[in-house]
């Protein structure tokens, strides 16, 4: 399809939206209802070329920049049928096509996720159509059971994930800036999993203790229609790829069950939860197998990705000081005896990247499969939400201000862990990682114009991340977001570190237009 045709179809679509925008609503026929949206997302690169896409260099040796990193159109439908007040079935279908593929890459690259085996099937090389969620609810006064493919989110943090570890993330696009809701909602970034979720509400309450619930999760593992899914990383060669395109990794999928429990309630002014999740590491850890010559990459690193078992213990709490400081205070804590890669497992820095036929380094595996280093690790977050009237900005609407302090600390000696080069998740071990975030948003013209900003500062590495944008509610059915993502920092040259400065190549401006019904 040519560019003009695409523009013409886009304009016709936009016209249809405007025509129907004033009256179209979600369909609601008795017990059946369906809602959804049609959405177009565009991301345009204003940074450098992605240094991880090692090919496509022009004559001067500079990497070509992929300008239109995303041109994705997606349709979502959410049908729901209520058999009774207590029993219902819910589904979410998604179809998407991304025309923002890199044209000068030696092989075809789909930016949209490819890894929804059996669920989100690619039709040809471009359309992806699949079932994002499908579950049934059985609800009684004290017991609620949800069975099927679903998402569960624990914790109290914004944008940063501590206890939100049940569902892995699809990082294939915007994977390095997972700061919803500005770019996209987590329900699109999270990968739904087959599981059973049972919630039991305590029938006993007192003036001090309310809403006590026990939530149990069971993920069947390798079962009919179900298997382990970890984080999905961007395809090599894609605009959001954040590791050098020299890997050929084989995923070792664990087949065991996962399960979790959460006890939660409210004691006086304090809302609390205690969490436990026995699971597999979603990031995965690399084990080096071999390094082989490759026709156009020069070298290819054969690796195997393992997902070791992890026990995660956590808690969260919130307190609303409504009368005095008018702020909500949030706390989240996670403890793991976490697996890390040791230098012997994988060390890309030892390889070097050959600049031609010569200089290929071959390594032999040094550590047996599953032999990882575990270190006791804590993650903690403190947050404050404080809506504030700023009369000269907006007399009707508060500006919602949010502050967070986020700390990751390896509490055991980590000197023998791999600290440079990339891990599968892009993050080498840091014994301490401290970040602060600030967010603000407000609404003008009855929330038809919603400016919003999120800023994160990495104290240790002096890196900055900024996401700023505005959503325009053109009608009830048409929403348009325009914004930008910018990275900056002290040291942008250290490819081994995933600090914000390094991601300067990912600076971009975005547009997202949604027609919803």
């Amino acid at each position: 399809m040519g560019g003009k045709t695409r523009i013409l179809i886009g304009l016709i679509g936009l016209f249809m939206m405007l025509v129907w925008g004033g009256s179209a609503w979600a369909l609601d026929y008795g017990n059946f209802s369906v809602s959804g949206w049609v959405r177009n997302q565009i991301a345009y690169n204003v940074g450098h070329a992605n240094p991880n896409n090692i090919l496509g260099e022009s004559a001067d040796g500079e990497r070509d920049r992929i300008n239109t990193k995303m041109f994705k159109t997606a349709v979502q439908l959410k049908p729901q049928y209520n058999f009774t007040d207590n029993i219902s079935v819910f589904a979410r279908f998604l179809a998407a096509i991304d025309r923002g593929t890199e044209t000068d890459y030696p092989v075809d690259v789909d930016i949209f996720p490819k890894s929804y085996d059996g669920d989100l099937m690619l039709t040809g090389d471009e359309w992806a159509i699949g079932l994002k969620e499908l579950y049934m609810d059985f609800d009684t006064q004290y017991v609620w059971l949800r069975m099927g493919k679903q998402q569960v989110s624990w914790g109290q943090s914004d944008g940063l994930r501590l206890l939100d570890i049940i569902n892995p993330l699809d990082k294939t696009w915007h994977g390095i800036s997972l700061n919803e809701p500005y770019l996209d909602a987590f329900d699109n970034l999270r990968e739904s999993l087959w599981m059973a979720r049972l919630t039991i509400k305590s029938p006993w309450e007192t003036d001090n203790l309310n809403d006590v619930q026990l939530e149990l999760l069971w993920l069947p593992g390798d079962f009919v229609g179900s298997e382990f899914v970890g984080h999905i990383n961007p395809a090599h060669g894609s605009p959001y790829n954040f590791e050098p395109d020299v890997f050929n990794s084989e995923n070792v999928t664990p087949g065991g069950q996962e399960w979790g429990a959460r006890l939660m309630g409210k004691y006086r002014g304090l809302e609390w939860s205690l969490n436990y999740f026995r699971h597999y590491e979603d990031d995965g850890l690399y084990k080096l197998l071999a390094v082989t010559p490759h026709a156009w990459k020069g070298v290819e690193v054969q690796t195997r990705t393992y997902h070791p078992r992890v026990d995660s213990y956590g808690c969260s709490a919130t307190y609303d000081d409504a009368l005095n400081t008018k702020a909500v205070y949030r706390m989240e804590f996670l403890y793991q005896d976490r697996p890390y890669e040791s230098p012997g497992l994988y060390d890309v820095s030892a390889l070097g990247i050959p600049d031609g036929a010569g200089g290929i380094v071959t390594l032999a595996p040094t550590v047996a499969a599953g032999d990882f280093e575990r270190r006791k690790t804590i993650k903690a977050l403190l947050g404050i939400d404080r809506p504030t009237f700023v009369p000269f900005i907006n007399p009707n609407r508060t500006v919602s201000l949010g502050f967070q302090l986020y700390v990751v600390q390896v509490v055991e000696d980590a000197s023998d862990l791999k600290k440079d080069g990339l891990t599968l998740n892009g993050s080498p071990v840091r014994e301490n990682e401290t970040m602060v975030s600030f967010s603000a948003n407000t609404g003008f013209m009855q929330d038809r114009i919603n400016p919003q900003i999120l800023y994160i500062y990495d104290i240790g590495r002096k890196g900055h991340y900024l996401q700023a944008g505005t959503e325009f509610r053109i009608t009830d059915n048409i929403l348009w977001y325009v914004g930008a993502t910018l990275y900056d920092g002290k040291d942008s040259s250290n490819a081994a570190n995933d600090d914000f400065a390094y991601f300067e190549w990912a600076d971009e401006i975005q547009s997202r237009i949604t027609f919803q019904f």
Binding site: S153, D187, T199, L323, R330, F389
Partner: protein, 464 residues
């Protein structure tokens, strides 16, 4: 390639069909006038089920003329063409806010007086508990034995000379008949621009259960003797637009009027219940002209405000404000309006003794946007129909109103439920309005909810 082409075709066709159905369905809906149920029918047919204590059964139509120097008469329509000659009389019988709205295009239909009773069972509780209510040193409403209030109107007779008359009249308003629980299956909130055009629509449901001060349904007066600090629990959940669909809010309101609510919201995109601060009660609710603190004309912890009774006067009020209401779920829920959809065109009827109260926040922290609110509590039925809010410079800013339709007819509509056609806010400075329409057939009182429904479990289950 063929498969791809076919897929494209079917996607486009399906999308077009969905758009067509979605666009056409509201057009096929009924109008209000296609299903007429007069608001006082149920009361007239079932007088034995209602208690009319504290209000006259009849007031002659000439009373309105007498109070307005003969200028305002039952049957007339006050509009911007004739309001200039009525300014003083209209302000005296309503408020400066109402006068300003008429000058901008609102029309008022002056109608005859009708009494607004309470169900007999509620009236009996009021009588049984008469004389029991006291206001404690910390500003709370309790019984003489030190318990939280046990139901009914606490101060049925309020002496104008009583220094606590203002706060007592407002405690009466808080404890006016609302059932022991209720549900509104469909509330439409409209955002109306200065030309009367509809800019936004949000549709939602609203359920509440009272855990204390229960008058009708067992167990009473409290649902659970171990949970008596909570006055009520409330659930609000949004049905449309699609980006807000599934958003839900759970609120605990406490009997202690020195305490603010606890508020939890389910955010579908995050799949998570988040705690909200209930401290900023005057933040625009979903961006509309009303704030949570404006509900029922003023909804705040009483002990954090001062309540001064200004006067007790006869006023034109919005009881039985429409002649007919919608009984069909598919109807458009449109009521008569002027200037597009900006102003409701409603009946205004005399009420003989309206307590006019000036409410001021004790500190700026309790309300950073208003200097004061002047509000009504109607003696006898103790409902509030109107409040004028003033900004920090003392200028008129917003008028908040409840337009009361009546009780149900006992057939299509619940006889024991009273109905509000609109909760309405007009922003005088921005010339902008936010009427909320309630879908009557799905408003029910005394449903028999249990407190378990009002939990974060339900928020998550409903919100998906």
């Amino acid at each position: 390639m063929r498969f791809k082409k076919k897929m494209m075709t079917w996607t486009v066709l399906t999308g077009a069909l969905l758009l067509l159905i979605a666009g056409v369905s509201p057009v096929m809906a009924l109008t209000d006038q296609q299903a007429k149920v007069p608001g006082y029918y149920g009361i007239e047919q079932n007088t034995d089920k209602f208690d009319f204590t504290g209000m006259p059964m009849k007031i002659p139509n000439s009373e309105v003329e007498k109070l307005s120097n003969g200028k305002i008469k039952v049957g007339m329509v006050i509009n911007k063409n004739n309001v200039a000659g009525l300014k003083d009389e209209l302000i005296k019988l309503t408020s400066p806010g109402v006068y300003n709205m008429v000058t901008k295009g609102m029309e008022m239909v002056i109608a005859e007086y009708k009494p607004w009773p309470v169900p007999k069972a509620f009236g009996a509780v009021t009588k049984a508990n008469a004389g029991q209510a006291v206001i404690t040193a910390d500003g709370n409403l309790k019984t003489k034995s030190g318990k939280w209030w046990i139901g009914g109107i606490p101060f049925f007779t309020v002496d104008e000379k009583d220094p606590q008359a203002g706060v007592k009249a407002w405690y009466n308003q808080i404890n006016t008949y609302d059932g022991d629980d209720f549900t509104h299956d469909w509330v439409s909130m409209f955002f109306i621009g200065s030309k009367g055009q509809r800019e936004r629509t949000v549709e939602m449901s609203w359920d509440r259960i009272f855990l204390t001060s229960r008058e009708i349904l067992p167990p009473k007066p409290s649902y659970d003797p171990k949970v008596e600090d909570i006055f009520f629990k409330e659930l609000v959940y949004v049905q449309s637009p699609a980006d807000l669909q599934g958003f839900g809010n759970l609120t605990y309101r406490y009997n202690d009027q020195n305490k603010s609510d606890d508020s939890f919201a389910y955010i579908p995109a995050m799949r998570r219940v988040r705690r909200l601060t209930s401290g900023q009660r005057f933040d625009a609710f979903v961006g509309c002209d009303s704030a949570i603190g404006d509900f029922r004309t003023l909804d705040v912890p009483l002990a954090r405000w001062n309540w001064k009774l200004i006067d007790v006067q006869p006023k034109l009020t919005t009881l039985f404000s429409t002649d007919y209401i919608t009984e069909n779920k598919k109807a458009q829920r449109r009521h008569p309006t002027t200037v597009g959809e900006k102003f409701p065109r409603m009946n205004w009827r005399l009420w003989p003794n309206v307590y006019v109260i000036e409410a001021t926040p004790k500190t700026r922290n309790d309300c950073p946007v208003y200097s004061k609110k002047v509000l009504w509590s109607m003696g006898g039925n103790w409902k509030s129909g109107l409040a004028d809010a003033y900004d920090l410079q003392g200028k008129l800013w917003k008028t908040t109103q409840n337009y009361f339709y009546g009780y149900g007819d006992g057939k299509v509509l619940d006889l024991m439920a009273h109905y509000e056609t609109d909760f309405y806010t007009y922003d005088h400075q921005a010339d902008h309005a936010s009427p909320w329409h309630i879908d009557f057939p799905h408003r029910k009182f005394n449903v028999g909810f249990t407190p378990e429904r009002f939990s974060t479990k339900y928020l998550q289950r409903y919100g998906h």
